[in-house]
């Protein structure tokens, strides 16, 4: 039983290695950069898949959590606290090793938080914000919840674009690399390409393992039962509100981790990461993957974001995702991987056209 559960993880890991070897030997290593970034985006998708597919709650605000992750780590790692270096709080933080002095690309000294401290702050802040938003919003049903989270996404976008601290329309750049330990670091420079490709996949697959465990646990069963029939689930002793809220927080934390890692990788983050269209895109990807299908969501998260990052969709990027959504809803509401077999397609298409 557990072996069957881990087999896809092993396959995925093998594929990751295979792709890396193929890209390196064929002299196309730069593809790895986009795959790495797609993996960061896929982290949002995996969390959202738990929320939408298993707990049955739609969120149109997850780009907001991705942006919170990115911006919080960017601000904490780049804000220059040198003028206040003698303040008691700062020297206390310094002695704890949470602050450090480093030189930016122009050689100027900067006193700011170490990336690990910023990362922990991201986790805590994302969880707290998700909790505060979730407390009222989780009580809403269906598209009301989607609308409320859409409102949250819009607020994050406006705050980001209107606050000088967040760089307004320019975003924040010069974010330092993130030394994650074992001599590895999240760094977007070409020399670190292969290393970061593996770091991103390790974290993504780690999230997948956690999610798969969760889905097959007592809690996962409870979440699915809430999705199927909330009243019955409630009558069987399941605190539906609490479980939905906890899943919301978990998915927000996954999204924020993706955002933080992406920011260190790119060395910058801009307001485009917080737009509503990004949130819609994540929802589309979960739908394409088949809602309650973690592997489908992850795969589609990587593939579609990769195509988008390669510029395959050109200037119609957002339009393509919208079209995908419509087509999926019409012809494969259970997701692309659970499409009806090809021979059924003919009847499906003719039936549709006659209607």
């Amino acid at each position: 039983m557990p072996l069957r559960r881990y087999a896809p993880v092993m396959c995925a890991a093998a594929m990751v290695v295979l792709i890396q070897v193929a890209l390196s030997t064929t002299g196309n290593p730069y593809y790895m950069t986009q795959i790495t970034m797609s993996a960061f985006y896929a982290m949002v998708v995996v969390g959202l898949c738990l929320l939408m597919g298993y707990a049955g709650q739609a969120s149109l605000g997850h780009a907001g959590f991705f942006a919170i992750g990115g911006y919080v780590s960017a601000v904490l790692c780049t804000v220059n606290l040198l003028p206040y270096r003698d303040a008691a709080v700062l020297s206390a933080l310094r002695s704890l090793g949470l602050l450090h002095i480093w030189k930016d690309i122009y050689g100027a000294e900067i006193l700011s938080f170490v990336p690990w401290a910023a990362f922990v702050a991201v986790l805590i802040l994302a969880a707290v914000i998700a909790l505060l938003i979730g407390l009222p919003v989780i009580r809403l049903k269906g598209h009301y919840m989607a609308m409320a989270t859409l409102g949250f996404g819009l607020i994050v976008y406006r705050i980001v674009i209107g606050t000088p601290l967040f760089g307004q329309a320019d975003g924040i750049s010069n974010v330092p690399p993130f030394p994650v330990g074992f001599g590895l670091q999240i760094n977007g420079r070409a020399a670190f390409r292969v290393e970061n490709y593996y770091i991103a996949w390790a974290v993504l697959l780690g999230m997948m393992v956690l999610s798969i465990h969760l889905v097959h646990s007592r809690i996962g069963r409870a979440l699915r039962s809430i999705h199927e029939n909330e009243e019955a689930a409630h009558s069987l002793g399941i605190d539906t509100y609490r479980y939905k809220l906890a899943t919301f927080v978990l998915s927000a934390v996954f999204a924020a981790i993706g955002g933080a890692m992406m920011t260190h990788y790119n060395g910058s983050i801009g307001p485009s990461e917080a737009t509503v269209m990004k949130s819609v895109r994540y929802v589309v990807i979960v739908a394409v993957g088949g809602m309650a299908n973690l592997w489908g969501a992850m795969l589609m998260g990587v593939v579609l974001n990769f195509l988008s990052l390669r510029g395959v969709f050109g200037t119609f990027d957002d339009a393509v995702f919208a079209i995908i959504l419509i087509v999926i809803m019409l012809y494969a509401p259970d997701g692309l991987l659970r499409m009806p077999p090809i021979h059924k397609w003919k009847t499906l298409l003719t039936r549709r056209s006659r209607e």
Binding site: L210, S211, H213, L214, S217, R218, I219, G220, R221, A222, R224, S225, E228, N229, E231, A232, A233, H234, S235, L236, G237, I238, D239, T240, A246, L250
Partner: protein
């Protein structure tokens, strides 16, 4: 009060101007099968919802094992030991029969989010226990052969039985059955009454809302009659059958007069 399990005191609930349940007093003794009958719209299901916590009463109190449970949420009440089935079966259609019953083990198990995500070793034992208990219930209900079937593919009668098993998986002290015989044929109804008696024999008190009079009169120890939200009569089935007020609401004025003469 001898072993009073559930005590309903002066409970009222209205929807707009309609008094769905009005000043109802009743109690359920441990180990009995009690039926709630009454014409459509008498407030039977509302009374169930008030006990199970789906609705909160506007006034009055409900006590379970001497503890007030008025206004508690349904999941809390389920944890305390009240399980229910629904008038229209509410199974988790896309989950298997076994999974449906396994969900019923929820209030008696404890693995949380973190334990689940990390797949901690002690949760394996718990998971095995959940599975074996659920399987045992399915065997008891002769449903073991369809354990891996999706619940939505079952016949109506089978769905009823799965819902039964699922409710029992929570190890309730009190089981609320909302019209368990609705939509069943006479053979299924007969099997159902035997089933309910068996459940009672293993120590689960049953409160049954039912329209099927033969079922009610055969298995219940006590009957509560509601009409327009009010209690009309309460007592052993024999006495209820002869009660002129009950005959009046079911059969009309003429029959009531005849039975009195």
């Amino acid at each position: 009060m001898n072993n009073c399990l559930l005590d309903i005191r002066d409970v009222s609930r209205s929807f707009g101007g309609v008094h769905a349940v009005r000043a109802v007093y009743s109690s359920v003794t441990e180990g009995m099968i009690k039926a709630v009958i009454g014409p459509n719209g008498a407030g039977k299901t509302t009374l169930f919802n008030l006990i199970a916590g789906t609705l909160a009463p506007h006034s009055g109190q409900v006590h379970f094992r001497g503890r007030p449970i008025t206004g508690c949420k349904s999941h809390t009440i389920a944890g305390l030991g009240i399980a229910r089935t629904f008038q229209t079966t509410k199974l988790f259609g896309h989950m298997t029969v076994l999974e449906n019953v396994m969900v019923g083990r929820h209030p008696r198990t404890r693995a949380g989010f973190l334990a689940g995500m990390l797949n901690l070793p002690w949760t394996w034992r718990e998971e095995r226990e959940i599975r074996s208990r659920a399987m045992a219930l399915l065997e008891e209900f002769d449903l073991a052969v369809i354990a891996e079937e999706r619940a939505c593919n079952l016949s109506f009668g089978q769905q009823r039985m799965v819902e039964f098993a699922r409710a029992l998986a929570t190890e309730p002290a009190l089981l609320l059955l909302d019209e368990p015989a609705a939509g069943l044929n006479i053979y299924e109804t007969k099997a159902l009454s035997e089933r309910i008696l068996k459940i009672r024999d293993r120590g689960v008190t049953c409160l049954v809302v039912e329209h099927d009079m033969s079922l009610v009169m055969n298995i219940s120890d006590e009957v509560l009659v509601l009409d327009q939200g009010q209690k009309i009569a309460e007592g052993p089935p024999r006495a209820i059958q002869r009660n002129p007020d009950v005959i009046r609401i079911y059969l009309g004025e003429d029959h009531a007069a005849n039975s009195e003469s």
